[in-house]
Amino acid sequence: MDVLVTAEALRKQFGLNVVVEKANIELRSGRIHGVIGKNGAGKSVLMNMIAGVFSPNGGVLTVRGSAVDNDRWDSRTATAAGIALIPQEPPRFPFLTVEDYLFLGNRKSYNFGLVNGRYRSAKIREIDEALGLDVHRNDQMVNLPIEVQQMLAFGKAVYLDEASVILLDEITASLSTVRRDALLQELTKLQKDRAIVLITHRINEVMSTCDVVTVMRDGESVKTIDVTKTSANALAREIVGDQQIDTSSVFSKRVAGETLLSVSDSNSVVLTVHRREVVGLAGLDGSGKDDVIEVAAGVSSLSNLTASLTFGSRIRSSRQAAASGVAYLPKKREEFATIQGMSVLENMVLPIARTVGSPRGLWLNRQLRPLVNPLIDSLNVSPPQPSALITSLSGGNRQKVMIGRLRLMKPDVYLLAEPTRGVDIGTKPMILETIRGVLAAKAGVVMTSESEEELVDYCDRIVVFFRGRVVKVLARGDREFTVDEIYRLSQGVTT
């Protein structure tokens, strides 16, 4: 088994923010190497460094026995060295045909600059058969399902670019079960003379497919384990680390008030929210937790989910939700929440300004400033000027402004999709304490978070999702109300 790529103490920082430090990995041909860890552990960044998308800031990267120059390591050189990265999102070439996409940048498919039809047909047939795609060469990429686009990217790397090091960054997350199993099968066939890396969130996939697994935590590779010598449970413990926080003492159990909102699917109630409680939704991406929030906020409609207010009708649109006392903080703040060209004040009052102006419809900063200033003070927004442009604020402060916006709406229910996403570490506790202390004092709160610790620290109940279903509801005070247990449940690992 030849060693194809070695990374030793690889480091990457963006500005002052170190995202990967002391990352070690050794990729050998003939072996499927799992890389596992929580979001933000540095898995993708490490792969992007190996594939030359990011150049490392430190450490030694060795490819086929010779160390590379970190500053000159880019994706062109990496591709030439036979390294291919299939990223989480398929490449966007909406209007290219399958054929044009596959042979993009492929010299062999041309004879003196003319399309080599015979070679192309043969290769397309080969890929189509190997991966069972059933696509036509003239299909447009945009018309193909995401998973087929993803498989084409994989096929291009393996069969056309003939890469010997294949890095799959959470490719299985967007695949259907059938296709995923087929791909994992194919990987075991292909591994003979190639090194394959499989980044995944699913421990079960690692257990069934990989030979070795590297666990990453907080930007470091903490351990590389032979898969035959470990168990799913042991692996889950490695991923979370041994930080056992005594959570029950942080906040005491509270008595929740009346039911405010409920979301149900075709046969059962998925989520209920009561006054004076924080409900956390846990689960992997695509587990269904985001769908529940989006349906309740009226921003997306799914046939099998309905959200209704206790004293009102079904929620059908975001405007209706906002009008009936449901305030929503979207996950992608910059895309769906902040209005970039406008000021802090304008961003905060936008949802309520229509009704507070006197006479109605008028927008006078003189009338609006007294509403905004107390919030700027209590949330400690910096800079504290209501006239500051929202884009001049840091991510954490923008999030505070958004929370201020929701508070002005005086809602009964807050739906917070990852309120700590893109928020600097210093600001996170402040935001979380506001959620529990201020928002949940008068209303009901639903929140998601990438970090199980945050949920365990600040929620009263946690609903755990796995593959679109609720697997368990845990309440503060339960023996199982722990980071470990929630992580295990959201992985679908049962003891």
């Binding site: 975001s318 009008a323 979207p330 769906f336 209005i339 060209g341 936008l350 229509r354 504290p384 209501p386």
Partner: protein
């Protein structure tokens, strides 16, 4: 408490800092005003340019362009586009004049004006509803209307109409006052409309919502604003303004001609872009559009005063549009440099 107030107003600075802030603000946000000054300085050498009477004429000539530019400004602010206003300019008064002369002879000219404005509103409503609810790109909808309405006018009044009721043309023709300086009503109307637009954009929810939509439509929707209603209203406003511009123009010419304002939309785009409005939406000022309309109208006036060949005036406007585009990209890079 007093400390906080101080924190909110960090305006205590040296004169030099204040000067830096001032010229940066002017160069990045109000670029049109140095150009107005430049035009005045150039024009100062031309006899008859810097007189009150001439400037009232400039405003008078700017009235219909100003109406169209203001309408397009609102539409562009929401990140959309409207080409049809050029044809609404002639279509709305045509229908009104046909009502007064042919369909209901002797109709009160005041009602005629209302009919014209109503037709403008209907055209805007049509564009707004079609582009918003049927999800058709407004560029294509209004391109279609631009052609269709113009064709309809040519069909309805191929020879033009030369006996337009006096009450109908009053808005564009009449001058108020005695003696040397008589103020055209159209000049007053255009100033009032721009002041109104400025107040709407600055002091109403409607105005704020318009710029929010242009900045980030998705987020505005999520914030609970009725985006569809606002966008449709904006098209209606643009239609009404185009109709008003048409009424003024008909009054000035004292006739309706089927080719009135043909090709004007390009000049309207030039005015709005020159005024610093982002074609992608969300950024732009009413004052900037006003300044740009004055510059374009003032240059036309200057060219007429010095006897610049009419054929070359078109070239001049092309050069102005090109420099407007150049200047706006220059403004963007200045903004990036100074805002870090």
């Amino acid at each position: 408490m007093s400390r906080k107030i101080e924190k909110r107003n960090p305006q205590t600075s040296t004169p030099k800092e204040r000067w830096t802030r001032f010229y940066r603000e002017v160069l990045t946000e109000h670029f049109i005003w140095p150009m107005v000054v430049l035009m005045v300085l150039i024009g100062a050498g031309v006899p008859g340019f810097l007189t009150a009477g001439n400037w009232l004429n400039v405003l008078w000539g700017a009235a219909s362009l100003g109406c169209l530019a203001l309408g397009l400004y609102f539409v562009l602010m929401t990140g959309r586009m409207d080409l049809s206003i050029e044809s609404t300019l002639v279509f709305a008064p045509t229908i009104a004049v046909l009502f007064m002369n042919n369909w209901i002879p002797g109709l009160n000219p005041l009602l005629g004006i209302l009919i014209a404005l109503g037709v403008g509103a209907l055209v805007g409503l049509f564009v707004g509803v079609l582009s918003n609810y049927a999800n058709v790109n407004p560029f294509l909808v209004t391109l279609g209307l631009l052609l269709a309405l113009r064709g309809l006018v040519v069909f309805l009044i191929p020879e033009g109409v030369y006996d337009v009721s006096e009450g109908f043309t009053a808005l564009g023709r009449t001058r108020l006052g005695e003696g040397d300086i008589k103020v055209p009503v159209a000049a007053i109307v255009i100033i009032l409309i721009f002041v109104l637009a400025y107040l709407v954009m600055r002091y109403t929810f409607f105005g704020k919502a318009i710029s929010a939509i242009g900045n980030n439509e998705q987020a505005t929707r999520v914030a609970g604003v009725n985006v569809n209603f606002i966008v449709v209203s904006v098209f209606v406003v643009a239609g009404v303004l185009a109709a008003l511009g048409g009424i003024i123009e008909v009054g000035r010419l004292n006739s309706v001609d089927a080719s009135m304002g043909e090709g004007r939309i390009l000049l309207v785009f030039a005015a709005v872009a020159l005024g610093g409005t982002a074609l992608t939406g969300g950024r732009g000022r009413v004052t900037g559009v006003f300044g740009a309309v004055i510059v374009l109208s003032g240059i036309t006036n200057l060219m007429n005063l010095v006897g610049f060949p009419t054929a070359l005036q078109q070239v001049m406007f092309g050069v102005i549009l090109l420099s407007a585009i150049l200047l706006s990209s220059l403004q963007d890079s200045l903004r990036k440099r100074w805002n870090k």
